[in-house]
Amino acid sequence: MAGSSTTTMTITLKAWRQARPGAEGRMERYAVADVSPDMSFLEMLDVLNERLIEEGRDPIAFDHDCREGICGMCSMVINGRPHGPNPATTACQLHMRSFRDGDTITVEPWRANAFPVVRDLVVDRSALDRIIQAGGFIGAATGSAPDANAIQIPKESSDRAMDAAECIGCGACVAACPNASAMLFTAAKATHLGLLPQGQPERYRRALAMVGQMDIEGFGGCTNFGECEAACPKEISVETIAQLNRDFLKATLSAR
């Protein structure tokens, strides 16, 4: 029973250290002993950080909040994989039992022009918010809504919309994409809203606006590598990308 396992491991961590935005950074090595396999990856970092603080050194800054895979705050590339080696798992849900005693583990921040490093593993993902600002919403001012059951929505549409809506906005898709493209994130939102009847009036305007913003932010373009889908902790499908492409094309052809 792994849950009660008592053996501990020793690992070597190679982590990216960078004091502030724009500063020079480097990888540093840390030996971490007495790691329990039942620890989460972030708890292992906590233990290391407490030790660093006690030794008067700077702890490794990393984003996190909910620690249960839903807020999208945690963001680090572990051994070359955004969120680490396990599929459909955020970094905060990754446990040390996925590693072996003696392993060397590399940890790096998301790397993208549009995600400047703030400190160590913390990056600035506000570009994703600005993509939503450009059009990732349905304009329904408070109080103006009809009865919720006034529109019937086929279960299939609603289920597919929900599949896309599960995106937690973590940016792992950008981190994994060889082009640092935010296409999966953008497509997930456009698809979620585009599949619902409420989302129709703004559908094409939305596609143009969100894609336009994505370009402005300095993300790369999608060339259909599909790495984003594999890295996505919520398993958002690249089919959403095809959907956004289609909406964008339609919008271009019909807008004038």
């Binding site: 790369g220 060339t223 590598f225």
Partner: protein
């Protein structure tokens, strides 16, 4: 017409242009393959085919210029997109493990460069005859040129083989990618998109690959 410029300025616009030109080039290659395998029937048919094409006169030039336009569009868009995409990650990873992308997807850029080099060489080889190692190039004698061009020319054959493998990889991803870029998807036939891509790839790259190899192996009749 400003909207075309706007469209092209967006990353998706460039990609759509690439996909559209790419798929037209695929169309050309399909017929190119179908005609060139005639060499296995007998070289004469291939020669006749060439004569028939030339009988269109100016129209052929229109087609040639069109083809060139497509290629230029495809390549320019590819270069621009590649540059933007490289700028999107100025600081790279110490380590990034690819998980799911195919060999085809990962070799698009290098494959494209090989294809470009190939096309230049290929035009100098069979169209103008400027470079035609081993023998005399005879304008118009298409079937004969193919036979002579590949016989006893291991280096030429090898280059063609490498180029056709690159083409195969390029298409295996490119055709699927075309559907994706154009938004041609539907849960019912998303699987079929991969199948179509592989069928076209095997037909085109396989058919063309057979020619230099077959000729070199003496399978095409003299």
């Amino acid at each position: 017409m400003g909207w075309i410029a706007d469209f092209y300025r967006s990353l998706i616009g460039k990609k759509v242009m690439m996909a559209a030109s790419g798929i037209l080039l695929v169309g050309f290659l399909l017929s190119h393959m179908a005609s060139n395998v005639l060499v296995f029937k007998d070289p004469e048919s291939l020669t006749h085919y060439g004569e028939w094409l030339r009988s269109f006169g100016p129209l052929l030039w229109v087609a040639r210029i069109g083809l060139l336009g497509l290629a230029v569009l495809h390549i320019v868009a590819a270069i621009q997109l590649t540059r933007i995409n490289q700028q999107a990650r100025p600081v790279g990873y110490q380590r990034l493990r690819a998980e799911s992308s195919t060999w085809g997807a990962r070799s698009m850029r290098i494959g494209g460069v090989i294809l470009l080099a190939f096309i230049v060489f290929h035009l100098l080889h069979f169209t103008t005859g400027t470079i035609f190692p081993g023998a005399e190039f005879e304008p118009g004698e298409v079937g004969r040129n193919v036979l002579v061009g590949f016989s006893g020319q291991p280096l030429v054959v090898a280059f063609y083989v490498v180029a056709m493998v690159a083409l195969g990889l390029h298409l295996s991803h490119g055709v699927w990618s075309f559907f994706q870029t154009m938004g041609l998807n539907h849960p019912h036939w998303n699987r079929a998109r991969r199948v179509i891509a592989w069928v076209l790839t095997i037909a085109i790259a396989g058919g063309l690959l057979a020619i230099p190899i077959g000729v070199a192996a003496g399978l095409a009749g003299r």
